[in-house]
């Protein structure tokens, strides 16, 4: 598999994305909400001195839960991008000429994955920096120290977030093979967020604590899911399947 070929596809997709509003919405809305809204809520709570919700004793747990939304966002953002990237080609019927070139199926799939992963990482890492700065600014007076960065957020951003993004992209590839429009692809793609929302609820109800060990275990489970999805998606993304069986 030649990475240079996959990169040509990704670079072409980036050019296309610049002109597609829905892709921009996917890239911008959720990261902005997470990075701006959550610090603003905390700022509001601490200014009001509402120590019931933002007391120094409960604040770290709240911040850990909030930061998990960065992972949920990271899984949500590529749904829109990957769906457009693949279903968009289906709608324009531009996959057949691409499949007639000397590219392997794996190179095309990798190119599509790169074109969804890179904008998501850029958007979510930017959001994470804004989020951490905002949270630190909002909570410094209450906590007496800067909560971020810490090992938790490092694990979350550097380990869990990439595997969550890959999971979302691979799931999008599978969904895209079965639907004919971007909206349907997005709607079905949302199902991949359910496990992550479940983890968030478990942490909110204190059934699990999102410490470094737990985050690594979750990352391991998602990695295993990634492996399964990878095999299913490569089976789905075969040129003969695409040309004869994709709806």
């Amino acid at each position: 598999m030649r990475l240079s070929k996959a990169w040509i596809i990704a670079a072409r997709d980036f050019k296309i994305f610049r002109r597609v509003k829905n892709v921009w919405y996917s890239i911008i809305i959720f990261p902005v909400v997470v990075s701006v809204l959550f610090p603003a809520i905390l700022e509001y709570l601490t200014i009001r001195g509402n120590h019931g919700l933002a007391a120094p004793s409960v604040l770290p747990n709240l911040l850990t839960s909030f930061s998990f939304f960065l992972v949920i966002g990271a899984a949500y953002v590529p749904l829109g991008i990957a769906s457009y990237s693949i279903v968009g080609e289906k709608v324009e019927k531009s996959l057949e000429p691409l499949l007639a070139t000397p590219l392997t199926d794996g190179e095309i799939l990798l190119g599509k994955a790169i074109s969804a992963v890179i904008p998501t990482l850029v958007a979510m890492y930017t959001a994470a920096v804004v989020f951490m700065v905002g949270i630190d600014a909002a909570t410094f007076n209450t906590l007496g120290y800067y909560y971020f960065p810490n090992w938790n957020i490092a694990t979350l951003l550097l380990v869990l977030m990439p595997v969550a993004i890959v999971m979302s992209v691979l799931f999008s590839v599978i969904v895209s093979s079965r639907v004919n429009d971007v909206r349907s692809a997005n709607s079905f793609g949302i199902f991949i967020l359910f496990p992550l929302l479940g983890i968030y609820l478990l942490s909110e109800t204190s059934i699990i604590t999102l410490d470094v060990n737990t985050l690594l275990i979750i990352s391991g489970i998602l990695l295993a899911i990634d492996v399964v999805l990878f095999f299913v998606s490569t089976k789905t993304f075969r040129r003969e399947e695409i040309l004869t069986k994709w709806k």
Partner: protein, 301 residues
Amino acid sequence: MDLTKKFGTLTAVDNLTLHVNDGEIFGLLGPNGAGKTTTVRMLCCLISKTSGSGKIGNYDIGNKEDSLKIRKIIGLVSDNVGLSENLTAYDNLDFFAKIYDCPQTQRKQNIQRFLEMLGLWEKRNVLAGTFSKGMKQKLAIARALIHEPQVIFMDEPTANLDPEASKTVRDFILQLKKEKKTIFLNTHNLDEAQRICDKVAIMNTRLRAIGTPQELERSVSGRKTVIGLEQEANDVVLRALNKLALKNLVSEGNTITFDVEDPDKENSPVVEAIVQAGGHVRSINVVGSTLEDTYLKLVRK
């Protein structure tokens, strides 16, 4: 050779055997669902064959390693133009040229050359999605040629085009022939096949006939010579004609009709016989079955 493709219980292509020479325009004719697109897809290594064999150049379509090499030396204009509508005409071509590893200088030259040849250079920075059908089709053709392939597959390249755009595409195909390109043309436009193809095959899942358009015209019902006489043919003239053992000789009023295979050779002895028998020839016409007659007869079999 004996190329076959089955989708479950459905046989899309059944034991198809074809040979296309270098530098030839080969037309594959057949109704919708005849297996033309499936044939092209197998030859372009887009889908696998169920049985049989096929070669493009020296490469085997059934061999996985060869399939990448085949895709390097071919260009495909599929039945759907399949352009990236949110890219400009230039970017559409630039992307494919990069995929084929065209060096930067050659890439720029080829993009300009093909866009100019097809009258799209002025529109190079316009989004492909805003193009008319004809312009999109021309751009799809340019895309298939950007890496200068030796073999070009075209699946219904003039379908849905207006007459002027169709003519531009046909002229361009003839221009490619002058450049010694081999062109495999899928079409159900018989007039187009007759005008530009060196050889045509008619298929309807199975191969029904193959040959030059002229050979196919003759193959089914052949041609007829119709001789107009000044007066109705008398017994002397008819006896003279019977001696020539003409096929399906019919005399009706002032007209004599018979089957003919090679009018240039066969007509003059007939005229001579009529004149020697005292007849006066007013006109001679050769009428033949058209490619359309042949096609309809064969695909309905």
